[in-house]
């Protein structure tokens, strides 16, 4: 069983990317996927939306899996592994989570169900990138550096100049980190992202 962590700041498009990716993974790779959603609030809206689209979802609400809910994440993943037997589990942490911490929690899994591979991606909102950088450059830099690659999402909302500036800034913050430009809501470059996550 493999695991994928799809991280990114609040409102970056994680849920949309999860919905698109699950469909693509199933259609092109024929793999069975389960999703763990961690919402910060007491009510999990993202999980509810995913269930409406027919996904098997486990919700972890009212906390963050990279810190207070770490043990709950392990228990949840074990239950999914034992009861659903998916090929892949996608974890969508809260928008404030550090992907490195989530991956570290997952690697604490017991030997019999330890994931064969854990991939992580950080989603960046192209539309709000300058505003977010102004408010949270250091934690966002940390997010970028602790993922396997970066997705610049919502590219349909910015022009070429703005997109180029975002790429330059990401290269400055996380030198050499692979970047994919996409629009999850318009299904643009989803297959490229999935190929990086699954292979």
């Amino acid at each position: 069983m493999d695991m994928i962590v799809i991280a990114g700041f609040l409102g970056s498009g994680k849920t949309t990317l999860v919905l698109s990716s699950v469909k693509d993974i199933y259609e092109r790779y024929g793999k069975k996927v389960a999703v763990v959603v961690n919402d910060f609030g007491t009510i999990g809206i993202d999980g509810k939306v995913m269930e409406k689209y027919g996904l098997q979802v486990k919700e972890l609400a009212a906390g963050c899996v990279c810190c207070t809910l770490g043990p709950s994440l392990l228990i949840t993943v074990k239950e999914i592994y034992e009861n659903i037997h998916p090929d892949i589990i996608i974890v969508e942490p809260t928008g404030i989570a550090n992907p490195e911490s989530v991956v570290a929690v997952l690697y604490q899994a017991e030997e019999e169900w330890v994931p064969e591979k854990i991939s992580s991606v950080v989603i960046v909102d192209a539309n709000r990138f300058p505003v977010l950088m102004k408010a949270f450059e250091r934690p966002l830099k940390n997010q970028l550096n602790t993922s396997d690659f970066v997705v610049i999402n919502k590219i349909d909302t910015v022009d070429e100049t703005a997109l180029s500036e975002i790429k330059i800034k990401i290269e400055e913050l996380a030198p050499g980190k692979p970047v994919v430009c996409a629009s999850a809501s318009q299904n643009k470059n989803i297959s490229e992202i999935v190929d990086k996550l699954v292979n």
């Binding site: 700041f9 609040l10 409102g11 919402d39 910060f40 609030g41 007491t42 009510i43 809206i45 993202d46 509810k48 939306v49 409406k52 963050c64 928008g95 404030i96 909102d125 539309n127 709000r128 505003v131 977010l132 408010a135 949270f136 934690p139 966002l140 809501s185």
Partner: protein
């Protein structure tokens, strides 16, 4: 990014309608609701909206909507057909720079303004309080 000025708030709204309403009117009111909360929060001092999300469910389907800036138009996904007679709405506000009391007040005030239907009965539950008594409108 869990700073001292980060605020999370959630509420549930039930709307009992006297007459069935169209899906288009529900979608319009939903986006107006989120846009109103976003602009009010921004005007009152929120410097960054993490997200304001909402799910509305009825016997005719569902809509999920989200907004991340007061200048944006809320995105909407989901499907609903005409004829809903009761709506369950969950709204979740995550933002920076505004205290929870004000966020709560803005959200609850936006409900009767943006989600009103003729002769509808509206109840609001604060989902983050231990005392889970609804507030009635209509």
């Amino acid at each position: 990014m869990l700073t001292d000025d980060f605020t999370a708030y959630a509420a549930k709204v039930n709307i009992s309608l006297k007459e069935p309403v169209s899906a288009a009117s529900i979608q319009k009111k939903l986006t107006t609701f989120l846009a109103l909360i976003a602009s009010e929060c921004s005007d009152n001092g929120a410097y960054l909206i993490g997200h304001i999300k909402c799910v509305v469910e009825s016997e005719k389907g569902f809509y999920a909507s989200s907004i991340t800036a007061p200048t944006d138009t809320p995105s909407v996904r989901g499907e609903m057909t005409d004829g809903s007679e009761s709506l369950d709405v969950i709204v979740n506000v995550l933002l920076y720079g505004l205290d929870k009391v004000t966020v709560k007040q803005i959200t609850k005030s936006a409900v009767p303004v943006a989600l009103s239907f003729v002769d509808a009965e509206i109840k609001i539950w604060d989902l983050e309080d231990n005392e889970n008594q609804p507030i009635h409108f209509g």
